[in-house]
Symmetry: C2
Subunit: 549 residues, 2 copies
């Protein structure tokens, strides 16, 4: 039985700390608690920042003081967040609604044997190692050209067919790593069932040298199966065989793992690793190893493991993802901010926000508790973001003078570019980037008075700043694991199961009903839609008519 979290309807055991935090939040609406004062307190910067060797978190410009932090830590202790995290990493059933373990940390636990990796009596480490070895051997054979396409040519491109958790994390890591490592195999993504996604992909690949990687745990995901059908048609049209051009990443025994279904190779994924936490399983492992070599994927895993170990072992006040989770909860449920922005000051991290958007919103955007009761209010918050400085010229106007929301900046100390740098205004581009990043976090906090309202800034807008040394596989791994750990800590503290996603089911059911109507029309053009409500009728008629007129 998991402890009851902050949003649980019978949260009587932690009512004390809830009331106290609520009172404190009210104080933070008053002038003495404005960030321009808070950040001037002695030791503010050093007392409100944490670091490991690989990752630094500065929350000194968040609207918290020592008392709030202390009470947030009590909240974490009362909800047994660290115990739940340990249970998770030890393979216990923390995904209570689906009765599964959530062992993404196990996917990168082969650097030492300090953590047990048993689910019930089954030791899962050998299975994880087996799949990683298969990925290592397969990607090496592709790189050496011992595995080739139907027409005897070595592979140069791969298309990942997968959506949501089978796509966003891998895309984030691929785009970041290719800043500093030239891909041996270039990776393209085909998540969307929109045929124009397929249309874009086929314009840039050579059919003979392209490998298709189909990623779906159940091998029944509608979009993925539709794109697989389209890819098979494409291979056939070009006289190429699926058994030379198609690989699958799927659960053991799924239709994608059926030996009578000819594919080049099938790599297993496990029911104890969920989609949005699966970047370090074969879901990310195969594409990233094909792109950058298995050794670089292993470095990425090593980075994740470093942060996992920190999250598992650091005491609450020094635990970086836990403290970030508590601040996120404070901002959302006590200061009542409706959204959070993620602004990486790094082009290589351009897909970080979409990945964390899924990770956080799909994990926490729920109205039911782990024990199946309605929460006192729904969990989660809106996550959005674009890289800085681009975002400064896009939506920062509203961030400074409109509705306030907390922002998380990510700085990369060393860029990937190693060539000659021009100077403009006496500084190089990377220095200009940092001048802006530092300036924004201060401007948001401090504000500026001016007689003219249009030129005044109320300030008091909270932000954090995260630093990593560079976009190396290890440091990206640290960053990925930080966000994974932060998200699950939030779930544990709020009393939400971060590993299920029942909220996507209703849309699937209604889509299925509409699909049936389209099937009938495809079979017989005599099938009409007049028995349907006006909305369905209009859209289906328009789809078949092909025109608004």
């Amino acid at each position: 039985m998991l402890p009851k979290g902050l949003l649980h309807p019978d949260m009587s055991h932690n009512l004390g700390i809830f009331s106290k935090l609520t009172e404190q939040a009210a104080c933070f609406g008053t002038e003495p608690y404005h960030l321009k004062h808070l950040i001037r307190q002695p030791q503010r910067f050093s007392d409100f920042s944490l670091k490991t060797k690989e990752l630094f978190l500065d929350f000194s410009r968040q609207r918290v003081d020592a008392d709030v932090l202390q009470d947030l830590i009590i909240l974490a202790k009362e909800t047994e967040a660290c115990q739940s995290f340990s249970d998770m990493a030890a393979g216990r059933i923390v995904n209570t609604t689906e009765k599964r373990a959530a062992l993404h940390t196990g996917a990168r636990n082969f650097f030492n044997n300090t953590i047990e990796l048993k689910i019930g009596n089954m030791d899962v480490s050998p299975e994880i190692s087996r799949v990683n070895n298969e990925i290592k051997n397969f990607s090496s054979a592709i790189h050496q050209g011992t595995i080739k396409g139907s027409t005897g040519k070595a592979f140069t491109h791969a298309v990942v067919i997968g959506i949501g958790g089978s796509y966003l994390g891998c895309e984030f890591a691929f785009k970041a790593l290719k800043q500093s490592i030239d891909p041996k195999i270039n990776i393209h993504f085909l998540p969307n069932v929109d045929i124009d996604n397929f249309n874009s992909v086929i314009k840039i690949i050579n059919p003979e040298t392209c490998l298709w990687i189909v990623i779906s745990k159940s091998y029944t995901t509608t979009e993925t199966m539709a794109n697989l059908a389209q890819a098979q048609l494409f291979l056939k049209t070009h006289g190429l065989s699926p058994k030379n051009h198609l690989v699958t990443v799927t659960a053991q025994g799924s239709p994608g793992d059926d030996p009578s279904n000819p594919v080049l190779a099938a790599f297993h994924m496990f029911d104890f690793i969920g989609g949005r936490f699966s970047v370090t399983s074969a879901v990310g492992g195969l594409p990233l190893s094909l792109a950058f070599g298995f050794d670089n994927f292993e470095r990425f895993l090593k980075g994740c493991h470093n942060m996992d170990t920190h999250a598992l072992t650091a005491p609450e006040p020094k635990n970086i993802p836990l403290m970030a989770a508590l601040i996120s909860i404070w901002n959302t449920f006590f200061l009542n901010y409706p959204a959070q922005a993620i602004i990486p000051y790094s082009s290589g991290l351009s897909k970080l926000a979409p990945h964390v958007q899924q990770l956080s919103m799909e994990s926490l955007g729920k109205h039911a508790s782990t024990d199946g009761r309605f929460l006192t209010r729904p969990g989660g918050t809106i996550i959005f973001g674009e890289p800085g400085t681009n975002a400064q010229h896009s939506f920062f106007q509203l961030a400074h003078q409109g509705q306030a929301f907390p922002m998380e900046f990510i700085g990369v100390i060393n860029p990937a570019y190693g060539g000659e740098c021009a100077k403009s205004k006496g500084v190089n581009n990377h220095q200009e980037l940092w001048a802006n990043m530092i300036a924004q976090t201060l401007a948001l906090a401090i504000g500026k008075e001016d007689e003219a309202p249009a030129k005044s800034f109320t300030g008091n807008r909270p932000s954090s700043l995260i630093l990593i040394n560079d976009l190396s596989p290890e440091n990206l791994g640290n960053l990925l694991s930080f966000y994974e750990a932060k998200t699950v800590f939030e779930g544990f503290i709020l009393g939400i199961n971060p590993f299920d996603q029942f909220g996507v089911e209703l849309g699937k059911v209604l889509a299925s009903d509409i699909r049936k109507e389209i099937q009938l029309k495809n079979k017989s053009m005599d099938h009409g839609f007049d028995h349907l409500d006006d909305t369905r009728k209009f859209y289906l008629k328009t789809l078949f008519k092909g025109s608004l007129e």
Copy 2:
């Protein structure tokens, strides 16, 4: 003197309608006003949707009824929104804080002469035509190979150096149009001062066949000047001359328009068209004409002009962008939703949300009125989005079961792909896409009861659905102009000047101070940062040390 808008502190003249709308909003919190009931009312779909030949807007699943719409229309009349729009299109000074016209509609007004295009006594049409003719001739000469690079090779690629309004709209249009039109010149974007943005671009271009397009009205934008310096160094390193490889889009007389500064060509932009409204000026015109030919750019302008004409002439209840603006205001300021999502069910529209994010948040995210008073509350709302069905597998969990927010779906009736289609589950990919789009808008509205909270859906989540026939230049133009008109209508009704952006100034000032510190350190490594506050000191020391340790 512009009329006072909804958020103006002395909005006494429209207090009546404000109170009435506030009372109505309270009703909408009660069960009879749940969307599952509203959408079953007779004629709901036909009474709550509008169309032109090119664009359809369905707001039947918004939380409004006939009374609310009527009162919103009164609000539009009282704030003289349509009059302000006419004033804008006639070249009057609607950008009151900067004392400028806002004549983006003039950039596509050469299809008829019904609208006067005078700013004061100056007729601006000849200037707009002159620049368009220059773009036509220049792009044609590039395509024919009569203008070539330094080494005598024809151009194949162009890099746009520009940020914010000099980039996002053009990127949106480029990515959408290339679904159906193969670019003659491939366009890449270099907005970010991050050197890794430059790093990515130079990996994919051939220096000898690449044209660099520098876009900045003032020719002083920090990021753009830094990237220009980097591009000039790159040209020099490759022995190529700026006068053969560099063109500018800038204001007449700016440093980028200086004949002593050797560039291949300079195209003028005007102070009466602001950055985020500039896609149809030379800012979008030059890159899009290079990519797709001037004829296709002209088709795009024609589409914009169609929607401009509709926005100018349709009476309030039939005016599509006005009604969309009113519903946005209702959702934000009466129903108090904190954000709006934009979900195009079209991969080609993948950059629509980032463009509209800037357009809306930078135009409306302000706390001052057009006449320089503090508003009763800040304007604007958070805009974010990703294409569907991708977003269904990312953040729709929260959209269905977390904090509610209005969503705007965009459907494209005909995909660009014209090849053979596979079928999966009896439907093709485009049909599956539409089944999902229709299902989502209904699921959000209706919800579903279930004894288990985790499987129940509260519904009552508002959405609109916009349709266009395809991604042709004309239809994209209609869509672009729809969002421009919607945004300016919102500004006029709220009492906000949608054309300035003073909220970005403080960050620039603080960045400049930090840049000076970096300059001093670059000049002399003896320069220390110990005189600075802890935040600046830490980040600047870390930047120069190059490591967290």
